[in-house]
């Protein structure tokens, strides 16, 4: 009896030694968003660019549309043929959702037929999202969330990498580079009044490009933080009892 039990125990233990079957994405081609190609193997950038802010504010009045790009990747190898893919808008409950044809060019627009394609021999594409400068954007922000939709070429990839969002407006808006770290250490809480003050007082655009440039140099960051703090102090000194106040009623401060 004891021997039977021993054999049974050993058999059970051996049965547990089954090699895990990793999911190799070799069943069918799949599609998912990702960071820019140069950051594809950097873990910390895996979810970079998930949400992109954009504003028409800095563009001349003649600009009626602009394009925001996301990076998308085919999983499961290359193909000898062009492989079209499909994107669809996701409606966000309780949010101001962008309206196709009004705020952005619909993905089904015939002029975009050739752009949503993974080219033959490639696994990456830049996905253009064409934003339209509708008059309503002068007074509101809208959100356009998109996701991959299965078609005859691709099944969706990893769930958390299936979507991207662009928040856009024609008003001043918080650039992506004015991130949580910048809020805490350099520019403080974002407000349109503060942003406008920065632009008017310094003559700089303080847009994504300028903030990204400033972010590359700590000494330059420190210079601008001190400069803005000085300008704000001088403004408040020149307006006693009327310190600069933002659109929410809070006094504007720089850290």
């Amino acid at each position: 009896m004891k021997q039977i039990l021993t054999v049974a125990l050993l058999t059970t233990l051996l049965a547990a030694c089954k090699k895990d079957q990793y999911y190799l994405y070799n069943d069918i081609a799949r599609l998912q968003f990702g960071p820019a190609p140069e950051r594809i193997y950097t873990t910390s950038f895996e979810m970079a660019d998930t949400v992109k802010p954009y504003t028409f504010y800095y563009e001349p009045a003649t600009t009626t549309q602009d394009t925001v790009f996301f990076d998308i990747y085919a999983i499961g190898g290359v193909s000898g043929n062009d492989r079209p893919f499909i994107l669809e808008q996701v409606t966000l409950n309780g949010e101001e959702n962008a309206v196709p044809g009004t705020h952005y060019k619909a993905f089904s627009d015939p002029s975009l037929k050739e752009v949503y394609v993974i080219k033959a021999g490639e696994v990456h594409a830049s996905v253009p999202v064409i934003l339209l400068r509708d008059a309503s954007l002068k007074t509101k922000n809208v959100k356009l969330q998109i996701q991959v939709k299965a078609n005859d070429q691709f099944q969706p990839g990893e769930i958390r990498k299936l979507w991207r969002r662009v928040n856009f407006t024609d008003m001043l808006s918080q650039p992506a580079a004015w991130n949580a770290s910048a809020v805490q250490y350099y520019w403080g809480k974002y407000s349109q009044v503060k942003h406008s003050f920065m632009i008017n007082q310094t003559g700089e655009k303080w847009d994504e490009e300028f903030l990204t440039y400033v972010n590359t140099d700590y000494a330059l960051l420190t210079f601008w933080r001190l400069k803005l703090r000085t300008l704000l102090t001088d403004y408040n000194n020149a307006h006693p009892s009327e310190p600069l106040t933002d659109e929410t009623g809070e006094t504007v401060v720089f850290p």
């Binding site: 140099d217 700590y218 420190t222 210079f223 001190l226 400069k227 000194n237």
Partner: protein, 510 residues
């Protein structure tokens, strides 16, 4: 019976495992010893002129030794990147033309016994120099313009020749204003080599202008108009210093800084605020600074001491240490002089004049403690020579003595007992313009003939200057200087530069 077989089988398995083949090495040999001779501890070489010519002797205790060789060179004082070793030879004898820019390098020699696989590595310091990397620099002004003379010291500290007006010779311009202060930093960031890296940089400050030059070439890195992120509206340099991980530049009474512990491009930031209300302030040109402690400046507007950090937007408030004999804030004094007395402990000396009663002059010994000061005062009598002092020069660290000039005379004042003693009288027709203690000492064999400890007294007369280099004994000057440097104009500051000198060699002080 069955149990016996099982036990027997188990024992057999255990016994079989002990029958492994012993592959241990039981031949005990004395470790091989490789000796390399013929490589000096350091060499001084002029870039693009001198060769490193070495043929070392390599021996081994292994009679069958057969060596392969390798020479490499890498730079020292690198910040922000890993130094890369360049291979410069694969034979025992090296005959290599030095092409590296002037600064400190390390020569590496490797000898590998191919028979045994053992190697030995030897290193040697290579000081790559130019004509500008060693000598006495004298900042002088002539006709409202400032320039720099270089006295070359090729073989010993006593100069052998003079290059006049090297700043304008190299840069095609002079600085505006009167000669004021040198500052030498080896961690100043510039891209003179094509990438931002530590640069041996000499700051030249006049009262109306400033320049920072690469000491290897004496080419200007930045003039005052591009030394800041924002060009100052008024050019009135007060001081340059290094303290608490930052460089500080006082211009027009306002403090600018570069935080040296992060990547930077050698540009000073904006004017730090006096307080959250941006109250006006005007810093004195005198300061206390020491690389490993907080800097202290004196705001002449509020007659208060302030401090700073390299990353701050607002000047740091300074408080009093218990027992201080004068408050650090609103003390109603004019600062006539302040300088570093010693760095360990960090002590400064300051001379104040009361604003309400200008006849009241106070000599203070200042001991900082974090952001607080303890001042011990010595009220001067009108009969004290120091009461009439015009120029000042502290002996740093050596003795507790302050040198000063009164008219044609240079006096010393013992800071412990107040005793004053005449040390030097300038010849008739000469006016004392500068008193500076400089000291360069160490244990490097090749630098022995360059080490010195001098009180340097600058005078001007008839449009020409003289800088006399006096040795001192127990704070008293020798009866005659070791040498005198002469040129045109009036001297503002003197500094000796050599390849091993770095930003810790001289204190930051007037």
């Amino acid at each position: 019976m069955k149990l016996k077989y099982q036990i027997l089988a188990t024992c057999c398995i255990l016994l079989i495992s002990s029958c492994y083949k012993d592959q241990g090495n039981y031949i005990y040999k004395v470790p091989e010893e490789i000796n390399i001779n013929g490589i000096e501890a350091s060499y001084n070489k002029v870039s693009l002129v001198d060769k490193i010519t070495i043929n070392p002797t390599v021996t081994s205790t292994d009679p069958d030794a057969k060596f392969s060789y390798w020479w490499g060179i890498y730079e020292t004082n690198v910040q922000g990147s890993a130094p890369k070793v360049d291979t410069i030879g694969r034979t025992k004898a090296l005959d290599y033309l030095v092409t590296q820019p002037a600064k400190g390098w390390v020569l590496v020699f490797g000898a590998k016994n191919e028979h045994t696989g053992f190697s030995k590595i030897m290193t040697s310091n290579i000081n790559v120099v130019t004509q500008f990397t060693r000598g006495w620099y004298i900042m002088k002004n002539d006709g409202g313009k400032t320039d720099v003379d270089l006295f070359l010291t090729p073989s010993a500290i006593t100069p052998e020749s003079r290059m006049e007006n090297v700043f304008s010779l190299v840069n095609g311009k002079k600085l505006d204003g009167e000669a004021n202060l040198f500052g030498f930093y080896t961690n100043y960031k510039s891209n003179v080599t094509g990438a931002y890296a530590n640069t041996r940089a000499l700051f030249i400050l006049s009262d109306k202008d400033a320049s920072v030059v690469n000491i290897n070439t004496f080419k200007e890195i930045h003039g005052i108009n591009n030394l800041f992120y924002e060009t100052p509206s008024v050019n009135r340099p007060g001081s340059i210093s290094e303290s608490s991980q930052a460089n500080y530049f006082v211009n027009n009474g306002r403090l600018h800084s570069i935080y040296s512990m992060s990547a930077n491009v050698g540009l000073f930031g904006g004017q730090q605020l006096r307080d959250d209300n941006n109250s006006p302030y005007n810093l004195s040109r005198y300061f206390l600074a020491y690389p490993f402690d907080n800097p202290f400046f004196f705001d002449e507007t509020s007659t208060s001491f302030v401090s700073a950090t390299g990353t701050g937007s607002v000047l740091s408030a300074v408080t009093d240490v218990s027992g201080t004999e004068m408050p650090a804030n609103r003390n109603n004094k004019t600062l006539l002089f302040m300088g570093v007395k010693s760095t360990n402990p960090y002590v400064g000396i300051a001379l104040f004049q009361d604003k309400t009663d200008p006849s009241l002059k106070v000599l203070s010994t200042i001991t900082p403690s974090n952001y607080a000061l303890k001042m011990v005062n010595d009220t001067l009598a009108p009969t004290d020579k120091l009461y009439q002092a015009e120029r000042f020069g502290l002996i740093v660290a050596d003795e507790n003595i302050l040198y000063f000039s009164a008219g044609q005379e240079v006096w010393s004042r013992n800071l412990s007992n107040g005793a004053e003693q005449l040390q030097f009288t300038a010849p008739a027709g000469e006016k004392i313009t500068c008193i500076r203690h400089r000291k360069y000492t160490g244990g490097t064999a090749t630098e022995q003939s360059f080490y010195y400890n001098y009180m340097l007294i600058g005078t001007t007369g008839g449009g020409n200057y003289k800088v006399r280099a006096f040795q001192k004994t127990s704070g008293n000057l020798a009866t005659a200087p070791d040498f005198t440097m002469e040129g045109k104009g009036s001297v503002g500051d003197v500094i000796y530069i050599a390849p091993p000198i770095n930003n810790y060699t001289y204190p930051n002080s007037y």
